[in-house]
Symmetry: C2
Subunit: 196 residues, 2 copies
């Protein structure tokens, strides 16, 4: 049985972006498979009563500086996004359908980079059309996927599963039933994968 790290994420989360950028190298070093679990963070927050860190202005100010330090440490291109928080229902519903396609990694890269490298509003249809076209995806297929009831159901099911398993924010990782919260816990994730 191959070892797996489950990665519960939402594109609206800058810490999920930083984690996404680092995960492939961790998976490679440990011989693990990444199982991407696109969830709707707004739903997780509502279900658990959690609030975005920036709800507290002092915490938001510290976190802005902290994120820049993490990005610098791992050499990840990162800038705050003036459109944050972004409504991610469209990009996460489409993710449910595309997750089994061979170009899912390109989709992840296109949306994460648009949000956190290029400061684009990934909730805006015109912006998404441009981003997806540039990345070689069909915007028509994308918008059809966002309206597909099966994808809406899958996103809700993943979000419900996350909450049921104890997830309260993003990014959250599971290795062998052990849960880790935050991009700043990726070393614990790597240690867990080495033990797995």
């Amino acid at each position: 049985m191959s070892k797996t790290v489950e990665f519960f994420y939402d594109f609206t989360s800058p810490t999920a972006y930083l984690a996404w950028a680092r995960l492939p190298a961790i998976a490679q070093r440990t011989g693990a498979t990444i199982r991407y679990r696109p969830m709707f963070l707004g739903g997780v927050m509502q279900a658990t009563g959690n609030r975005p860190p920036g709800t507290l202005p002092q915490k938001g100010a510290w976190m802005a500086a902290d994120l820049a330090r993490w990005a610098k440490r791992f050499n990840t291109p990162y800038k705050p996004n003036p459109h944050f928080p972004m409504m991610t229902l469209m990009v996460q519903r489409a993710a449910q359908e595309w997750i089994d396609r061979p170009d899912f990694d390109s989709y992840l890269a296109a949306i994460f980079n648009a949000a956190w490298r290029d400061q684009k509003n990934i909730a805006d249809k015109a912006v998404l059309t441009e981003v997806l076209t540039t990345a070689g995806f069909s915007p028509e297929a994308f918008f059809a996927a966002t309206e597909n009831p099966a994808n809406k159901e899958k996103l809700k099911a993943t979000t419900d599963e996350a909450v049921a398993r104890g997830v309260f924010g993003a990014p959250t990782f599971f290795v062998d039933g052990e849960m880790h919260f935050g991009q700043d816990r990726l070393d614990f994730v790597e240690e867990a994968l080495m033990r797995a």
Copy 2:
């Protein structure tokens, strides 16, 4: 000018305990001085609108496991305290007076270890009497210090200063005006001290 790390803490915080245990080695490696800043975390929470992480049961559950992992990583004896959260006005008021004494380090160790190594209720007068006596301190001098209006004023001033400088939780560190929050940011603190 010698380099300094300011350490804003409260004995009620298990993450402040983990930071306290690691700070001296970091100070030694970087040639820095630790400036202990005992504040009243309850006042910081109230002033900023912050809530303890455990307010969210899911976050509390993850944090319990996370704290155990950090303690294990740095070989710090640690157990959750059934009396948490503890009212720390007494121990923090006395800290204001004892901070300039040569045995302040022993005071820090006595109270932090009582709370987070030995699971004692550091808000209880009988418990404190025993802890302080064992550590070679006079309980009478301690309780007098807790009632001294000058110490009450100093604790309030330190807490107000913390809030004014952007502190929203514990532990919080300042190096050259750069603020770091959390025991999990001590590597950033050490890097800042190496640059300082």
